[in-house]
Amino acid sequence: MAEKLFQFISKAPAARAPVSQMVSLPQKLFIFTTPTVKISATTPPATTASTSPATPSRASQFIPAPTVKAAAISDPFLAKLAEQKTDSKSSNDVVFQSLIKTDMKATEKKKSILGDLPKIDTSLFIDREYHLKKQLSIVRFVFAGLLVVFFGMYVFFASQLNPDFDLFGQNVARTLDDKNAQLKTLQTDVNLSRIESMQTLLANFAYSADGFLEKFSEYRAAQMDAKKAEISADLDSIRQGMYEPFEKAREKMLARNWITVFRTTTVSDSEAEREFDEALRERLRAERKTQLESYKKTEQTALKEQLTHEMAQNFELLQLVGNVPMKTLLQTDIRSLNHEELKDFIGKFSAAYPSRLGLIYQIKEKRVPWARTIREISVRTKNVDPLFRTGFFAKLGGILYNAFDFEGSSGRIGLTGQAKSDDGSNFSILANLVDELEGSIVFKDVDMRSFSKRLSDGGGYEGSFKIDFRLQTELSDPRDRQYDLRTTPDTSRATDTLTSRNAQ
């Protein structure tokens, strides 16, 4: 487009081209030395080579400065024109002046009757925009600054509160974790010391308790009051030795074994207690592991025995950790218990703390007292047959046992024997025997459904029998009450029963 314009200008005389068109051409086409183009404040700067014709009013505002450097112009036409202008400056001025006047006149003719368009003072807008830009810059600067501060804050807290962040050395979280670990280890050490002393104290108590139980069995078996009083004094003496270790063990067991200060979260006391109990168990298991490895490696018998003993101790310690039943039992005031109650208490103690002595006690408690059981059968049989085992069975009849069969695991007892009578009352004798055995608090579920008898060669009637029954583990049985011997007129039988009850 610019080239076309240039060709048009170069072919036509300069006077034919309107000034407005010339000015609107791109400046690079014109080699004016002083392109003093006055632009109205409302006119935006031309950035494109617009070919739209300028209005006359705009054209009238241009004041051309036609001083052209001839030497710089290579085009012959323009060079000639420049020469002509240089030579006849005044004539060109006249031409331009006339052109401007003509143009102004034409503009005057075209002016609206309303006059010029009102001009808006946009300087205010420019100020506002400037201020807005400034505000925006400030706000953005502050925002960016705060972001930097925020980031710094994040980095600081992350570096301090994350225990794994060790770029700048040990931080607060790591310090706290280390302190916590030290506290936990130390508290576990304290707990271990306490439980070790408690084990020793309880062993002392259990040792004394074993002596007490042995003496107590003598006390219970003693019939004479004087003997009982003598044994009771011994029991009191043994008891004195039991109190101190028991009460010291209680003190150790009930001591607080956990700490809560280092926590940032809320943990209940029971949870904290369990946590420290578990830490102590872990410590003991680790010790046991070491002992076991040493045991497997060593070939020395003495060392093996020592390690076996240590492992047994370790096992007992593990039984004590977090032992709630033991904790409850240790709060008992054993001084206020009588001998019988103390004996029962020792049973509960052994069950709660399965140390070696405790296990021994449990096994002993489960044993069937066979001698007493056989004696009880003998006593009950004598109640039915007063001549039992007196050597008169062949002549006078009665009951004779041939075989006993005792099964301890099920508590089943089987008796086989013979019954003999002159008057044929064999069945009644055996029925009495069944009731007598059932009435004992030692036996229950007595069963004999088959009765038989025949004429004896030597006179009278005889028959064999088999009775099955079981040991009664319960304190009482409905048939015991139903067959209450104390209500019967036979005082000897009542005495036996009471004796038997007392023996229990």
């Binding site: 946009t122 807008f125 506290l183 074993d210 050597g391 004779l400």
Partner: protein
């Protein structure tokens, strides 16, 4: 600022540019307020945690010092208690080992039984074990101890029969130092009346258990 010149051409009317800048300022201020709120919340939370940890770390040192003292006292007490009980513990341990040994140790048990029969067997009151058989040891249901089952056929007088029962029942006391045992079953044949008159022996078969500690070496 360069972005503005890019987004807003020079030909954009001034009012539109003002609106644009004004909106930008408002949005940025809103973002700024939001940022301040977030910073406030985050900063407060983290600072509280930080200061709490600082305080707790300081307190922990005090507790550590106290615990050190407690540990020393507890250790001293434990050593004192163990030392005071050393003799009794040694004695108790020896008695426990004989009553409730660490191993099943059937040979020692055999010697113990044989010793009992030898001591009590007299011409007037005989007692002879004619047969002794041991089974393999096994742990109890709760795996707390080991059981060694064994059985015997015995011929004895009635008196020695009761003595044998008493021997089994009194086993397991520390003072007695007799290996802990238990009679599981008895099958007993009484002599006839004539045999009783002639002081004939009772023949019985007894199944028993001897107890020992659980093997902790596994």
């Amino acid at each position: 600022m360069h972005n503005n010149s890019l987004s807003l051409g020079s030909g954009t009317p001034s009012m539109i540019r003002q609106h644009y800048y004004s909106r930008k300022v408002k949005m940025t201020v809103a973002g700024l307020v939001l940022l301040v709120l977030c910073m406030g919340y985050y900063g407060t939370e983290r600072y509280l945690e930080y200061s709490q940890k600082i305080d707790i770390a300081a307190q922990s040192q005090t507790f550590l010092d106290d615990l050190q003292k407690t540990q020393q006292a507890e250790r001293a007490f434990t050593l004192k208690t163990q030392e005071a009980s050393q003799d009794a513990a040694l004695k108790s341990d020896q008695e426990l080992t004989s009553v409730f040994p660490a191993e099943a140790d059937y040979t020692s048990l055999t010697r113990l039984l044989d010793d009992f029969f030898k001591k009590n067997n007299t011409s007037k009151n005989p007692i002879i074990a004619t047969d002794l058989q041991f089974d393999q040891p096994a742990e109890d249901d709760k795996k707390q101890f080991t059981i060694l089952p064994f059985s015997m056929n015995i011929e004895s007088s009635e008196e020695n029969f009761y003595r044998f029962l008493a021997f089994a029942e009194s086993s397991g006391t520390l003072k007695g130092k007799i290996r802990l045992m238990d009679i599981q079953s008895i099958q007993l044949n009484f002599p006839t009346e004539e045999e009783q008159t002639l002081k004939k022996s009772i023949r019985f078969n007894v199944k028993m258990s001897a107890y020992s500690q659980k093997n902790n070496n596994q």
